[in-house]
């Protein structure tokens, strides 16, 4: 337990020292928020069902952060640790591989949460965002969405031959999702054909779930999202445990 805490704290420091990862998790979403906030403001719009641009951006940018930490941070860290022999070194100690994975999950999760917290705080203070949902529901949706995406990251880290390939595959999966799932731009702005295609992107389900819960929709309206994300989570755990390699 003591080693798990130490390892978690160490990984937190390492995460924050990695400028690119910290930027895309903590700073970039805020930049997007202020950019689109300054262009569109946060006036209620019929297109968004009476919500403002910033109101709907908080849950969708949260989905964007989840995608970034899941597909980039988790993938790159784990794949690099394996490739560079960092896991090999850990393996010579009594520490369990589960502790290594757990510390990683805790840190990436906490950083994703911090990214969301910054968004919510900035949204509240600067744009007075409307929140009509239940905070616990949103948190639960956030946990489900995050963990299901971390699963993809661990699978990539475990199955790709090198850290470089894992990073590229992660990016190739991430970028279309940012633009086409309604995470980076509101889906309402996308053409109908693209909106249909977005049903094949896992991030779409995170966006749907979080946007719905944010405005206070019932879980019952999002059974498909919950089903897809739970399925991803379970598959993610099974496959990442099976494909975990020390070297």
């Amino acid at each position: 337990m003591k080693s798990l805490l130490k390892m978690t704290w160490m990984e937190t420091k390492l995460f924050l020292r990695e400028p690119v990862g910290a930027f895309f998790t903590l700073v970039f979403p805020l930049m997007m928020l202020f950019l689109f906030g300054s262009i569109f403001g946060n006036e209620p719009t019929p297109m968004f069902g009476g919500q403002g641009t910033i109101d709907i951006s908080i849950p969708t940018y949260t989905a964007m952060i989840i995608g970034t930490t899941g597909l980039m941070s988790t993938t790159i860290t784990m794949a690099t640790y394996r490739e560079n022999g960092i896991l090999r070194r850990l393996r010579t100690t009594p520490v369990s591989p589960l502790a290594v994975l757990a510390a990683q999950v805790v840190v990436v999760f906490a950083m994703t949460g911090l990214g969301m917290l910054l968004l919510v705080t900035a949204g509240k203070l600067v744009y007075h965002v409307r929140f009509e949902g239940n905070a616990f529901s949103v948190l639960a949706g956030f946990v489900l969405g995050s963990l299901s995406f971390f699963g993809i990251g661990f699978i990539l880290a475990g199955t790709m031959p090198t850290a470089r390939t894992a990073q590229i595959v992660g990016l190739v999966l991430l970028y279309p999702m940012l633009f086409l799932s309604g995470a980076g731009f509101p889906r309402e702005l996308l053409p109908a054909a693209v909106q249909k295609f977005s049903a094949f992107l896992p991030m779409t389900y995170v966006v749907n779930l979080l946007r719905g819960l944010w405005v206070g929709e019932a879980w019952g309206k999002h059974l498909l999202d919950v089903g897809v994300l739970s399925g991803m989570l379970i598959l993610g755990i099974i496959i990442s445990v099976k494909t975990f390699r020390w070297e």
């Binding site: 160490m10 390492l14 022999g85 960092i86 090999r88 070194r89 010579t92 100690t93 009594p94």
Partner: protein, 307 residues
């Protein structure tokens, strides 16, 4: 004296390649035991089987009386390991690495003490990526010493280091042994094995081809020793016949090399100097060349290039 490591009939294959075959040896308490051999001789495979990182196909291994496969967890608490290829995260600082790894062991050594013992005090806050090769190796030795282990495995500790760093690390290894710990190391530097190890196993093609103290290995080979000097003028004909036992003489201008069998009654050098003095021959720059472990190694494993 206790047996710390016991290996019998170890065999390990990777697909069709036999990496290690019929390897048996023992390491006693307080010993520095070395495994040397060309690349691919099976040194690292052997040490990794002992560390429990690889599962042998056949054979018996006991480390501190335990089986590395069955009692791996306990052994990892009580042995220190330095791996041939491993790293730490680039941005992890020296003190953070020691502090983190110390938390893995139930009875960890004081890492602050290790930090100064290994001369890393001033690198305390340096990130891992900014350390030199020698500093990284010293940090890995410190990590290997953290569990306050009875046995330390060091796999190719000084590969790629400059001579200063290498000598400093040899001193460190001797210090480790002086604290009563047992050291099992691999190297492909013969000089390192000869200077550092109490006993050496020479591996080739996955088998142990010789195992003894460096001095006994050199004696056992019966390699010749040489006396080299320059003469002022020329050496009288038949000089070699005046020596007490058979030698071979090689003369290149004023440079003379006398080759003699090792293990003679009268040391070759006093024999040669005695004759030169007796005959009143002026000589310069006289030195002897003893066979080294490297000669033993080459005569056992051949001189062709390996990869």
């Amino acid at each position: 004296m206790d047996t710390i490591v016991q290996v019998e009939g170890l065999r390990k294959t990777y697909g069709a390649t036999v990496a290690v075959e019929e390897v048996s040896f023992e390491v006693r308490e307080g010993e520095i035991f070395g495994m040397v051999g060309p690349n691919g001789a099976g040194k690292t495979t052997t040490i990794e089987c002992l560390e429990g990182l690889r599962k042998p196909d056949r054979g018996m291994i006991r480390i501190l009386g335990m089986d590395p496969q069955r009692d791996g967890h306990t052994l990892r608490e009580r042995t220190g390991m330095q791996l041939q290829q491993s790293n730490l995260p680039e941005r992890m600082r020296v003190w953070e690495a020691l502090n983190l790894y110390a938390s893995f062991y139930p009875k960890a050594a004081d890492w602050n003490e290790l930090l100064s013992q290994l001369g890393l005090e001033e690198k305390r806050n340096a990130p891992f990526s900014k350390l030199s090769g020698g500093q990284k190796q010293r940090l890995f030795i410190a990590l290997a010493l953290l569990p306050d282990p009875q046995l330390v495995f060091l796999d190719e500790l000084t590969t790629g280091l400059d001579p200063q760093a290498r000598h400093a690390i040899w001193d460190l290894v001797r210090d480790v042994r002086a604290k009563g710990k047992t050291v099992l190391l691999t190297t492909h530097y013969m000089e390192e094995a000869e200077r550092l190890c109490d006993r050496v196993a020479i591996l080739d093609h996955g088998r142990i081809v010789a195992l003894d103290t460096p001095a006994a290995l050199i004696r056992g080979l019966g390699v010749e020793e040489r006396v080299v000097f320059n003469v002022d003028g020329t050496l009288p004909a038949g000089f070699e016949k005046a020596l007490s036992s058979a030698v071979r003489l090689e003369v290149q201008g004023e440079r003379v090399v006398v080759h003699g069998k090792n293990g003679r009654k009268v040391p070759l050098v006093s024999d040669v100097v005695g004759q030169l003095t007796k005959l009143g021959i002026q000589f310069l720059d006289l030195r002897t060349e003893q066979p080294t472990l490297e000669d033993v190694f080459l005569s056992l494993t051949g001189r062709e290039m390996r990869e």
